[in-house]
Amino acid sequence: MAEIPLDVRAVPPGCGTGCLPRNTKLGDRWPILEDQLTEIPEADWPELIEQQRSMEWLVWEVLNQKSTNSCTANATAQGIETICNRQAKQQIPLSQASIYKMINGGRDAGSSIDDALEQIATDGALPADTAENKARFAHTFPRLDWRASLPDGWRETAGLFKGLEWFDIGGARGLVTAVLLGHPVVTGRDGHALCYLAVVRLPDGSFALVYVNSWGQWGVAGGSMSYGFGRDSLARVDRGIRSYGGWALRSANLAGLLDLPAPQN
């Protein structure tokens, strides 16, 4: 896959970025995937890609950070929404701002992915303030207005949307293993956080990783990033992971959303 150098002019007008370098070391907070699992060898990728049920299909909305620098919160919330859709069969819009507010130091100056993960693992995320969410949940929050005040007792509701367990990923091959195992991955590149969901094989035989970008629209923007879904080479992803870190979402705390019947026998 042809490399496209970073060109900040390629970021479309009205679209923010905001991913800062990681501020922890590999394995500081979460177990390292490559230590815990055997990486899937490249020779097995083509067959698994053929059989793969791509997690792109689990994305029911593309989040939109607009001009804010909240990409890490968006990519993290996108991962939780994706898992929620699969694990609980529920499509619940989340408030990216409820994450970003807690990690941006009071300024719209971006944030690191590891801070976003810590926030989603500790407090969770609030549902967005849609009419449907307001009718269902005790607490909601605007999608982007991170300056809004958090409602009293908000952690009770946010706790329904926690990202519980993550793998810290050392490189692009680990990322391929993660998505083939059904774990969305949040990582960054070129100052922007993305959520990676699948691996594909290109006509020339090389492999690419499929991301969903928080620019709010389906389709291609041009430049080095796409609206909606895009593809990155493994080499580009490798560089991104080294700078920004990469984490695979293993499990989320969604049980509180489920109205399971009590077993009778």
Partner: protein
């Protein structure tokens, strides 16, 4: 032995035999069953120093065969010799019979006669157990408990197939069409009242496992997660889903 006699004749023979032995102290004691299943086996106990046992069966209606099968010879709890015999009635229809058993030992004879009822097989021992009735069709919960750290690529495909449609339909399309619910949970979920019984029940199963539950909470299946989406769909359908 084979017999085809009237019940009156059987009773007469039994009375003669009993009278003939009345003066001797019986050392052989015979007990016969009163009820056996159709096509089943009548166990006849003889106790004492039994030298010889003879069966006579008197069907009241249809003919039957009686086959003598010694199946146990040994000592009873009181260290007395015992012969346990099986009398196999060869496919007599359900009905009333009269069974006489004569045992002799050391010059004494004991005879026992009893009305024997042969019940239909379904009443006593079903010859072919009825299959479990199929659950009533309805909406189901598919609850998958896994350890996500140990998920394999094959398991990931099954888990993704619960929500990701495939060309031509597939499991996810079927679930949506029928209104079935899905829950895929890591066993490390924080304890929640609704979830705890399932996590506890999953404790004795290999993970990942699946529960198929109806809306009332009846657990229709609890087993390891099938290896393919097609197998999981077949399991769901077999449980009325």
């Amino acid at each position: 032995m084979r017999g085809k006699y009237s019940i009156a004749a059987a009773a007469m023979l039994a009375a003669v035999l009993m009278a003939a032995t009345a003066t001797a102290e019986p050392k052989a004691v015979v007990t016969v069953p009163n009820v056996i299943p159709e096509g089943g086996v009548a166990f006849v106990n003889t106790e004492g120093s039994v030298g010889e046992v003879t069966f006579v069966v008197f069907p009241t209606e249809a003919a039957g065969y009686l086959i003598r099968l010694p199946i146990f010879e040994g000592l009873d709890a009181k260290k007395q010799p015992i012969i346990r015999l099986a009398a196999l009635l060869n496919a007599p229809p359900p009905g009333e019979y009269f069974l006489v058993v004569v045992a002799s030992a050391d010059g004494s004879i004991d005879a026992a006669g009893a009305k024997l009822t042969v019940r239909s097989g379904e009443e006593v021992i079903p010859p072919n157990p009825q299959p479990e009735p199929a659950p009533q069709p309805g909406r189901r919960w598919l609850i998958v408990i896994e350890e996500s750290q140990q998920r394999t690529t094959q398991q990931a495909q099954v888990i993704n197939s619960l929500r990701i449609p495939q060309q031509g339909g597939g499991l996810a399309t079927y679930l949506d069409g029928k209104g079935h619910q899905v829950a895929i949970l890591d066993r490390d979920q924080p304890a929640q009242p609704a979830l705890a019984p399932y996590l506890e029940a999953a404790g004795d199963l290999d993970l990942p496992c699946v529960f198929i539950v109806d809306e009332a909470g009846t657990v229709l299946a609890k087993q390891p997660l099938p290896g393919t989406a097609d197998d999981l769909l077949a399991l769901l359908k077999s449980k009325g889903g």
